[in-house]
Symmetry: C2
Subunit: 396 residues, 2 copies
């Protein structure tokens, strides 16, 4: 049944440069350990109100309905589909990586009809193809797509896709799990309708919560549902009784108190830095990392114009074994980089520069650790050039 | 959009004697602040395996499928219903408080048919009525009930109810949110089939995760489903790819790393104390609290044989205003007790003695704070007797 003895778990100190979780700011770790209070405590309710304002800042929205779902990004995705899709609804899904397929699963499990628009992994969603699909399916009510594909590092044009959707009487469901806080994301200006994100990417918080924001168009569709939302836990009309009860908060579920302290702190940190400075920081360190990787002879997979600075997909060179490199980096350097996902498993690495991980020290450390590990495995890796390439970007 | 300035949130130090969250052990708070590592890190996977063993100990089960859901108890409840109930399935639900109604919502949102067996709030589930319902509905496949009703403090006979269910070819879904770690719960010996719990009650961890355990009968029903589980996030067959992947763990969602450190620590603490000692501790402090409350002239709502030691529903005396008392306790004494829920709002208080909160200091503090606050509001509250009554129990 159980071993005879168990001890406290003491994790190693890693440097997290995978696709998330990213390095967590010590201020956030400290916030997690503050005393737990009740989920209906007036002081907690005050914190919740501030948290909503901070999320509005991060999303650049004034949407009333802007809250953190008490579960990971996958549940945030499900909250959008389960509230917005009714049986029989037709949803056009742009798929250019793993998360498009997950959207398809969501739509079908809600009884909806998924129309897939496929683009190559590692490329942005194609606007023309999407427009053709919208024209071919005038009865579609929703267009769903991923702003920043975590499985490939590709960035799509969320504003243009939403404009197309609106021209064809569709609302949008937008995955911003990896974009929030890392690249420009302007929910109101771009008129995105239902948006979900994660906490463990460019917000540099712990995983386990999913910020979402719904505008009036999305809420109108929810209010006009003919059937109940199939999830009780994710039913936005019930969640709002707790998160937005005006003077009175109704118990729905018990909110994850301490993780919410952490998210509040992460958003205070983002607000103190300022969104534009955070976006510029991700861009700067991406340029330095790119210079270092290219000096090692490595190739970035995604074309420059469609590339996410915070998530760098790198082709694994011929003759180099994926797992050996990642294991060496982890064991000898405590450095985590990400493996490929789905069809790109074994073909690429995903090197994250998200939130707190996007800093000069991490870039230097990652490039030099890669030089050491790859250099031991292959004589064709150029040596002694990468650090200069990195420094040149910072000294520009 | 956002205020001009935001600051870190510093919660007050409360004493948590409501229906959960309970006081969190400082060891658990410290564990939360340990460095975040990746959800596929070999060290994390090792911790996950230990966590499953520790949960098996807490549940007293050898069920292979014993994992923490990455979301609060309400999602744990939903994971049971959404995996086990298919459209058209008939489910008998014993309702003796708020959570029976929530079960009904769950069944209906899964397309199932809910047959309600009602008992008075504050009483155990009636075995005869349940047996009658099982006889009247031979096509039912599931019996669902709450072992420890958090809304009333009533305890039902989980073993006897499950025996009845099995005699009528039903499997059971059992809510043990408030019982796990606080009163005897023997999943294997009692043959409970699908069981969910919470972390913020007698485990004294933070809210936000939900331990569940499914035996072979439950897993067999899931494997024989004709339709897909309507939730992608809560689909147990997908979750197991991550939690139980043998050598290889498949990414499903990103687990809440640091909260799982906290849960691991909470379970290590429980294992060190030992389940039987933990149950005895809850019983002891309940006896002392009861003596103190009765010396103040207060009445416990639930008959003694059906009473949960860890959650004490107390009638609010005539002429005493619920909200005033709870506000005074919170503002002047940093003491949280729980309000009534649903139909018992305004009629009772729920005083929790869960996990870390079940200690001698808390009992003395709570009784003396109640004496002070109630004494200011009403001259009919007996003064100067409660402390002796409490001490008498401890000095027995």
């Amino acid at each position: 049944m159980a071993n005879s003895s168990f001890e406290s778990f003491h994790p190693p100190q890693r440097i997290l440069m995978g696709p998330g979780p990213s390095d967590v700011n010590p201020r956030i770790l400290e916030a997690l350990s503050r005393p737990t209070i009740g989920h209906l405590d007036p002081k907690f309710v005050q914190m919740m109100d501030e948290l909503k304002d901070l999320l509005r800042y991060a999303f650049q929205t004034s949407n009333e309905v802007t809250i953190p779902i008490s579960a990971p990004g996958s549940a945030g995705m499900e909250s959008c589909f389960t509230n917005l899709v009714e049986p029989g609804d037709k949803v056009i899904i742009c798929r250019n990586g793993v998360f498009g397929s997950r959207m398809q699963e969501n739509v079908e499990r809600c009884g909806g009809v998924a129309i897939m628009v496929d683009d190559p992994w590692g490329r942005a969603v194609d606007l023309n193809k999407t427009e053709d699909a919208l024209k071919a399916h005038p009865d579609a009510t929703i267009l769903a797509f991923v702003h920043a594909e975590t499985s490939t590092g590709a960035m799509s044009d969320a504003q243009a896709l939403t404009k197309l959707a609106h021209e064809h009487n569709c609302i949008t469901i937008v995955d911003t799990v990896t974009s929030l806080g890392g690249i420009p994301l302007n929910v109101d200006e771009w008129e995105l309708d239902a948006v979900y994100s994660g906490t463990q990417k460019c917000l540099s918080c712990i995983p386990g919560m999913s910020p979402v924001t719904f505008n009036d168009r999305a809420m109108e569709k929810i209010k006009n549902r003919k059937t109940k939302c199939q999830s009780w836990f994710l039913d936005v009309s019930l969640m709002l009784g707790y998160w937005d009860g005006g003077g009175k908060r109704a118990y729905h579920h018990t909110a994850p108190i301490n993780p919410l302290y952490g998210l509040h702190e992460a958003l205070v940190i983002l607000h103190q830095e300022g969104l534009e400075d955070a976006w510029a920081r991700h861009r700067l360190h991406h340029n330095a990392l790119k210079a270092g990787l290219e000096a090692l002879g490595l190739e970035l997979v995604v074309p420059e114009a469609e590339r996410l600075p915070q998530l760098n997909a790198v082709s694994i060179p011929d003759g180099i074994e994926d797992a050996v490199v990642r294991k060496n980096l982890l064991d000898a350097y405590n450095l985590e980089i990400g493996a490929g996902l789905g069809e790109s498993a074994g073909k690429l690495w995903r090197i994250g520069l998200m939130g707190q991980s996007a800093n000069r020290g991490n870039v230097l450390y990652c490039v030099s650790a890669l030089e050491a590990v790859l250099g031991e495995l292959s004589s064709s890796i150029p040596r002694g050039k990468a650090m200069d390439a990195v420094s040149a970007v910072y000294n520009k």
